[in-house]
């Protein structure tokens, strides 16, 4: 009986551990401004006068297709909806999920089977850093850094200086 009580007590302690730390899903909600997209290994130099390096984003529908983007805003909404606002006014919609211990972000576009996988390197109140492994042909991992967007910011404002 004593051992059963101690097992029950320890179980309650262990289960309460699940509540430690901020919930990653709660932290992720909101609007993020992409401030940097950088390759782990990039052979060229970035454009002069800019702090960030132009990057390329592969479309999962066609791995050979390259989509150049600038100053995107990512808005993670409740209900697992993600809206990416591009500078040209286009919007891309996906469904997001956090997996594992909160270290994997999956994005799935409606109507496709393709899934984008990002490694969540850092997630805090004001910073989000994702790693995206885009394959050996473009020399490895792309690093995406986001800052929490100000409410008045829009995609037309462009990247921060």
């Amino acid at each position: 009986m004593e051992s059963a009580r101690s097992i029950g007590a320890w179980s309650a302690v262990l289960l309460s551990l699940l509540g430690c730390g901020s919930d990653p899903e709660e932290l992720l909600l909101g609007r993020w401004e992409e401030v940097e997209w950088r390759y782990e290994k990039f052979d060229g130099e970035g454009p002069p006068g800019r702090k960030w390096v132009d990057g390329f984003r592969f479309s999962h529908d066609d791995p050979a297709e390259v989509v150049r983007h600038e100053a995107e805003f990512w808005e993670f909404k409740p209900g697992r909806e993600l809206e990416i606002s591009l500078r040209n006014g286009d919007r891309v919609h996906s469904r997001w999920r956090l997996k594992g211990r909160g270290h994997v972000l999956t994005l799935r576009r409606p109507g496709t089977e393709a899934v984008e996988l990002y490694d969540v390197k850092e997630l805090g109140e004001g910073v989000l850093i994702l790693n995206y492994d885009i394959g050996m042909e473009v020399r490895g991992i792309a690093r995406l850094e986001f800052r929490r967007a100000r409410p008045e910011q829009s995609a037309d404002a462009g990247p921060r200086a």
Binding site: L14, G21, K99, R101
Partner: protein, 274 residues
């Protein structure tokens, strides 16, 4: 003969065939569940070494949520092994069959529960993911604890690091001519190969079936455990004089079944620490 026959003194003796069958089947279940967990949740269900390393990494980075989750998973495995051995030893005196079968039965039920929940209710929230992985990790602890307890530490089916270590040592010894005639060494070498083969085949099967059928594939793992339990329940009923439950307060030792070969006591090297 029951696959979950206890190796210890005072009960029936296990044979090598006990260990081959038990190791192979439970290793296949472990591999199956592990791959399904990776595909579904991006987290291993039987990789305690990796979880401990990740825990250390998350401590250094100060990721409190992640380190608490990983700590919970590691402790779930520990608790599973603890619960399995508790069942076997506490019930070993009065209800030995129940004590030995209960951990695998609980594992079977929990895996089926994860399968059902994943199939019908899983909304892919992070909290659900963490709890479901924790349940699977607990199952692996139950399984590893149960088979290690009944086999005297000889069979461990979710401890791949130790498995490869032992295989390397045994291969080195087997290749030395003067060691080739050691039957105990050959037994362990074959056993570990069977466990490895079971784990890999289970993993391949789990991956293929999960990609095809989703969470319902986990019912196959439950079915594998059910086969082990059903076998032992049938055997225990057929060989009734030995598997009758010991009356409370009885000091009579268990009778040994005619024709069952005894097995050597496991040597100290076969019982790995942690």
């Amino acid at each position: 003969m029951m696959l979950l026959e206890h190796a210890g003194p005072g009960g029936r003796r296990r044979t090598h065939r006990h260990d081959y069958l038990l190791g192979g089947t439970t290793a296949a279940v472990a591999g199956f569940v592990n791959v399904c967990s990776v595909i579904a949740f991006f987290a291993f269900s039987s990789n305690v070494t990796g979880h401990v390393a990740i825990f250390a990494e998350e401590v250094v980075k100060g990721h409190w949520h992640q380190l608490s989750v990983v700590l919970l998973w590691v402790l779930s495995f520990l608790f599973g092994a603890f619960a399995a051995n508790l069942s076997i030893t506490r019930l070993g005196g009065t209800r030995p069959v129940v004590g030995r079968l209960a951990p695998l039965f609980l594992e079977l039920v929990l895996i089926a529960t994860v399968a059902y929940y994943g199939q019908h209710h899983y909304a892919e929230t992070l909290r659900e993911t963490e709890v479901l992985v924790g349940l699977l990790v607990f199952c692996m602890g139950l399984q590893n604890g149960a088979v290690a307890s009944v086999s005297g530490g000889v069979v461990k089916t979710t401890h791949v690091t130790g498995l490869f270590t032992d295989l390397g040592i045994e291969l080195s010894l087997v290749l030395q001519r003067r060691r080739q005639v050691d039957p105990q060494l050959l037994f362990k070498f074959r056993l570990h190969l069977i466990i490895l083969a079971g784990y890999v085949l289970g993993g391949v099967g789990g991956g293929a079936l999960f990609l095809q059928f989703g969470f319902s594939a986990l019912y196959v793992a439950s079915a594998g455990l059910l086969a082990v339990l059903a076998h032992d329940l049938v055997v225990s009923r057929v060989s009734s004089p030995v598997f009758q439950e010991r009356p409370a307060g009885s000091s009579e030792p268990w009778a040994s079944e005619r024709g069952i070969r005894g097995r050597p006591e496991p040597d100290a090297s076969s019982v790995r620490a942690g």
